[in-house]
Symmetry: C4
């Protein structure tokens, strides 16, 4: 396994969503008879989709709506919601700023301190509405914020960094003990992100209820461009799903694999499940919802190094309600709406009655690029070629 990339140096070929396609079998199922329920620890979802912990995507209002529709949203405990009493005006400032002002503005906004009472207040806002509440922090603050979140009534706690590890070397601060953290929490803890079989095994061994899969998934990803780090999601998901199955055989405990990142269309989500995912986490696709706090924008906080920039604002536009994006009806036919319906239709056509069957779908490597004609047409359109 692996190809020679240079003398004495081998590398394994990895695959992304664009390079594969799903192959129908000899059975089909009426989409209305397809079951897409999933469980992450003790949490049951009727739609196996999580909303990413981004300030432009999740606020209490969206979290409530997401839960009503059957999914779950993760609220960032280190973002605008917990730094500002009135986040609405801050969010409005971001969406109204010019592209030139935006980066600086966003960077400044996150310099305000986090207020612990706001953590409690936001969680209670969500719980008061009877919705499922998931919240997230970075590893460094996981112990403190995890405790606070649990006490405030949160249903799920997420610990996320670009690249997670159990063994972290630092001369400046102490490293979190994930095993202790999971033991101390009564609500399910989900940890990420990882991309390899062996890291997935280590994370499961901490007692996590689920793990996030996805680091620098695409060639256009900042993590891959700036840091050179990344594994395409097909390979990462298959590897971590294999770790889950092995860990389940060894221990009898089933840990959910949640593919996070790199999925923009319904087809990508279907492929993630076919690769072995139990659920998916999406961000920019949901940032386009009317309910999304970003007002048609989102911005990441991917790189934690103090001097590398964070906060570039991305315009995604607002297309429709969260409901339309998740369960339709779809106005657009590009696969960006009715994600649950598309998943059911895909599963029906593939003969998968539920997520577990979908994980066994036959996959084919299919050429992803047919730009020739298109580029040629572009060339002609702008007056080139003959």
């Amino acid at each position: 396994m692996g190809m020679w990339i240079g003398r004495g140096r081998k590398a394994r070929r990895s695959y992304g969503f664009d390079e594969i396609a799903l192959v129908p079998g000899n059975l089909t199922v009426n989409p209305n008879d397809v079951d897409i329920n999933c469980e992450i620890g003790s949490i049951k979802l009727s739609i196996p989709i999580m909303a990413a912990a981004m300030d432009g995507v999740v606020d209490p209002k969206l979290a409530i709506e997401m839960s009503k529709l059957g999914g779950i949203a993760v609220m960032n405990l280190e973002g605008i919601q917990t730094r500002y009493e009135e986040p609405e005006s801050i969010l409005a400032d971001i969406s109204k700023s010019t592209p030139e002002e935006a980066t600086k503005l966003v960077q400044g906004i996150y310099n305000k301190p986090i207020k612990e009472d706001l953590i409690v207040r936001r969680i209670k806002e969500i719980k008061k509405a009877g919705a499922l509440c998931a919240v997230s922090s970075i590893p460094k603050r996981a112990e403190r914020f995890g405790k606070l979140a649990e006490e405030a009534g949160a249903d799920m706690f997420v610990v996320q960094s670009t690249v997670i590890s159990i063994k972290h070397i630092s001369s400046e601060y102490e490293t979190v003990d994930f095993t202790q953290l999971c033991k101390n929490m009564k609500i399910p803890v989900i940890i990420g992100n990882c991309v390899t079989y062996s890291m997935a095994i280590e994370l499961m061994a901490t007692g996590a209820a689920g793990i996030f899969v996805g680091i620098g998934p695409g060639a256009a990803c900042t993590t891959r461009g700036v840091l050179g780090i990344g594994v395409p999601q097909v390979t990462a998901t298959c590897d971590c799903a294999a770790a889950r199955d092995f860990y389940y055989k060894q221990t009898g405990r089933y840990v959910s694999i949640i593919t996070d990142g790199g999925m923009s269309l319904g087809g990508d989500i279907a492929k993630a499940f076919a690769c072995g995912a139990d659920a998916v986490m999406i961000g920019s696709a949901l940032a386009r919802a009317k309910e999304a706090p970003g007002g048609g924008f989102h911005w990441g906080m991917a790189t934690p190094h103090a001097n590398l920039p964070r906060g570039t604002r991305i315009k995604v536009g607002t297309t429709s309600s969260l409901k339309q994006i998740l369960v339709g009806p779809a106005d657009l036919d590009d696969g960006s709406q009715n994600l649950a319906g598309a998943l059911k239709t895909s599963m029906g056509n593939l003969g998968a009655r539920n997520i577990k069957e979908m994980q066994l779908t036959d996959i084919i490597i299919a050429p992803s690029i047919k730009t020739e004609g298109k580029v040629f047409q572009v060339a002609q359109k702008i007056g080139m070629g003959k």
Copy 2:
């Protein structure tokens, strides 16, 4: 066979038309001595091309012209022709609507009920002109409409859905028995679409005279983008042709393989035959004919799920008569006209005297993309680069 895409997970590499090319042998044939006749069940065609069952492509008028030229057109029994007494005005509305109005308009049009007397009337219009008449329905209505079509004088009956199967699970309706259907019909029944060897074998065993090959053939295909499903046409056609040859050896019955979708130029059609096709079905290439009812537009009804959109209108433009597109003379040199002539010339250069010989052509995997220069030129044209 297959490559590792992740731990414990293998996938087979598939190929599309863009990735292959045909290799001349040591013999050439004068194109005028090349024979491209084909038979599908009892139907003989002098041009092995079928027009796809799309409302923007086939109406009785086009079906009559298609038959005259030596091919056959499939009329959709669930479209505008069978829902409206006067389809012309409806079609005119579609072609005159703005891009913004079009999707909604198209969706509304298909909410009108199908009238069975119109099914009979349209078939009789075609037969009255002495033309071959092929008509199509989805599986659910195949028994009822097949009977009606046969009684009205149709020559061929097509049952098509995005992904066909013999075993369909539904709690809401009963599944059609294809074997019974083929037994009950005296005219040839063609079923599709499928892409695998084993599904092709199952479909042939029902008694079908032909099967359609093609699901999500291209990376730009909606089925692949929205549902993640698809197999590129080179591999799909080769696999189903292998099934046909095996089935023929076992039973002595020759079932036609009709490659459907993903062919836009003469070269693609030549490649489909080299891969083993007995005939091809094309849509958008014919939508450009003056006779096409869509007036330079076509629209698909690919996804049957109620909440996923259907009806996006695609502009293809009107370039010439159906005759020019099929048998020339060609005004354009891009391979979109004189498809039969291009096929004969290709076969002559490859030394194939007929379709059966063409199916044995040497195929090479050839890099499909040479965008570098073009993209670079585009970049320069719009004032970038040095």
Copy 3:
């Protein structure tokens, strides 16, 4: 050798110029000490480049200049030069016509009959200037025109069709006997085009002094788009060079391999020699010369089928003198000028002192496409993306 493209169907992977690069060894040579002389039959050239038999590229004037510079130009005996007493005005009409008028105009021009006295006159014009004279015809007219050309003093006779074969089946006309043709001619005969080892062997056995290699070399090539036929030039050249070496071992006769088509830059030409070519034939790169009769345009006559179009005019522009294109000095740094100088510099860097050494250069498969950044920039330029 070969990969599975479908059940029971294998195809060999072929390579084009864009996919390879040349690897320096442990020796370098001062470019001024590099020798690029070549011999084709009895003809000695100091620059191993032939100008393609296209009416927009070669007329007597360009042929004279080409010979002076050390190369050789092939004049088409079935083009404007032999159909019109005063070709200049016809050529001016073509270059002055609008894009809309051009195709029809070009098609009409070639309906005029060929005049045998003009064949003689054009050849004499070239010979009077003391230049090397090569002329070409299609197979059907090779016997008659070959004899005429030889009598008029031509130095080389070229027989070319898109796909050549020794065994041609036609009920309408008799097939040319190439062995007899070569035997009857005293001047060297070059035949093409072919792309395979076995066809190359057959052509050499006729007694030809050289063979042209190149059928549908690029993905953008009409032959590949319209007919589906083609083999990328790296593989085609390597295969035919292997046939030459085998034939030479068997017979002691060295037949020149002339790579024709698919080379646009100096680097492509260097690669052709590294793949085993003895000479190259180029068209559009020379159509950009001030001396080229096309006035910045060229047009092909690729497809002989009566109903498939011929004559599409391509604008290449006029950049400089033929001298600058062939031997410099170069004003442009894109590899389109000083082709001989680029070849010498390439050979010097690769440590090849002459063409025979260049044919042994180490070749690497190198990723050809780095469009990502460029496309991204294009996207940004026209106001897309963030």
Copy 4:
């Protein structure tokens, strides 16, 4: 090892930065605890980055600033700085000229003779500021200029040509003896460029302290386009690093591998180290610094052949201070700023505490191109498609 590209002809597959990605292990390190020091011969750098010997990038002022920040800049001894008493006005002429004038202007500027007293003066300007001083010449002038440079106080001497070799054949001039050169110089000598294992071994054997790796690294590179020559940097760096490790085992002398060219973003630099580089040399990324003498432009002198053009001016724009580009803080999030910070963050995420550990990072082959969507969007933007 190697794939058949034609009959009897094998070629090895090589890889570029775009095709690989780095895979995290089970350890992470706080970036502040990462050590990126490097040594090249006797020279110690706290940032393992060299500024390329280009006139638009390096003058004494930039060299001083580069040294202050922890890297080292190479000043071209055959450029504007040593031909003109007052290079500032010449540089201003270049940056103010129109694109049309630029090439001719640049070509003319390099026709002025080199003044040896200016070589001494420029080196002294750099040394007076207490900065590290590296200077470069082509092989032909290495003996003379090396001696001058050493006497004037330079700390490092670079000998560079597009393709270097120990054995150079020339009837016009004598070849430099690199072994003698290295023996005669007391300061470290760095030689390049090379791309293969065997050439790297030969260069190390001359006594060089370091070697530059990089010839025609990218598909868009002039060397590859014009001459056909090149090896992508991943394979070239891995191969030369393997040569270094072998040479070190044999001799106990550690020769630095400096990857030169093809790196535009932080991620590319991280990958170069993961492939085995000890340091990297960059040009255009630094040409964007306010301190760069080119004023937002740079121009190469890649091809030494007299008649092939040199001097095309490339616009890169001016984005920020050299300090921001090298050590941040970054305003842009595209990986073009804070290169040292990005390297430390990448290494921390990959669990590499220093360059030697980074050289052992797990590498994956990851699809580099996801143009489909982008090209499609471009197409739509300019009004194409549906």
